[in-house]
Symmetry: C2
Amino acid sequence: MARKTATPQLTQDHTELIVLSVLSEGPSYGYSISKQIAARSEDEFRIGASQLYPLLTKMEKQGLVETDWEEIKSKSADPDAPGRKRKWYRLASKGERRLQQRIEAHKRFTSLINSFIATDPAAGAVA
Amino acid sequence: MARKTATPQLTQDHTELIVLSVLSEGPSYGYSISKQIAARSEDEFRIGASQLYPLLTKMEKQGLVETDWEEIKSKSADPDAPGRKRKWYRLASKGERRLQQRIEAHKRFTSLINSFIATDPAAGAVA
DNA sequence: CAAGATATATCGGTTTCAGATATATTGCAA
DNA sequence: TTGCAATATATCTGAAACCGATATATCTTG
């Protein structure tokens, strides 16, 4: 059960980039987004509920995403019971633009970091 | 006086990586390190004194760097005057190992982020 | 001789982080 | 059939990080 955080922590900017990327593939909802990120990163990126939900709310307020509530009907229980709710997020056009900005910023960021470590004789270039 | 933070902020981990990279090219001191980073990143990475000095102190305590004080002699003033002090930092072997770790972590980090944005149809790969 | 650059360092208000907590439903296995 | 894990959203809160401002002092240049 090794818990080494070898990979640097995610800043909110990076988290936003990843969330926008996930949503660019189609609408999703909070819990699924966090599971997708964990699964696709082999558990190296973990976005907890306390980071994800405030971020999604912020993104909604900024108009990057649009939302819909889904009422999940219970299969076995009373069909008139309230049931669980699921909040779907889909990328707004403003969010698509933001995603492109974040990708560009990430490219600059990476190439700048690379320019520093590239001068280190023992460092291989980051492919 | 545009102050757009186009590039994501630096986490302390990333700052440490950059500082270690600079020191891997040879000993330096705080003020010079911050100037080098700004110059080599075309001012996109700015490590202020309030981030750099505490980080250098921490790195020293962790044995990543070793230090020496230099007494800078004034050209014009009294040769017995105290003069300005300059604290030189040089990479310790522990720091070299840490640098390699940070580089590896950065590579993993970058390739993970790339794996997310690569699935975005509009995203070019980060070279 | 004043202003700006060099040089190190801390203070303190704001923001961010992430584990814990809260609440409720659903599915499954003992 | 009951209880636990998983699903699902959301906030609270103590700790850590961030970064502009401040402090102090020297050196250089016009």
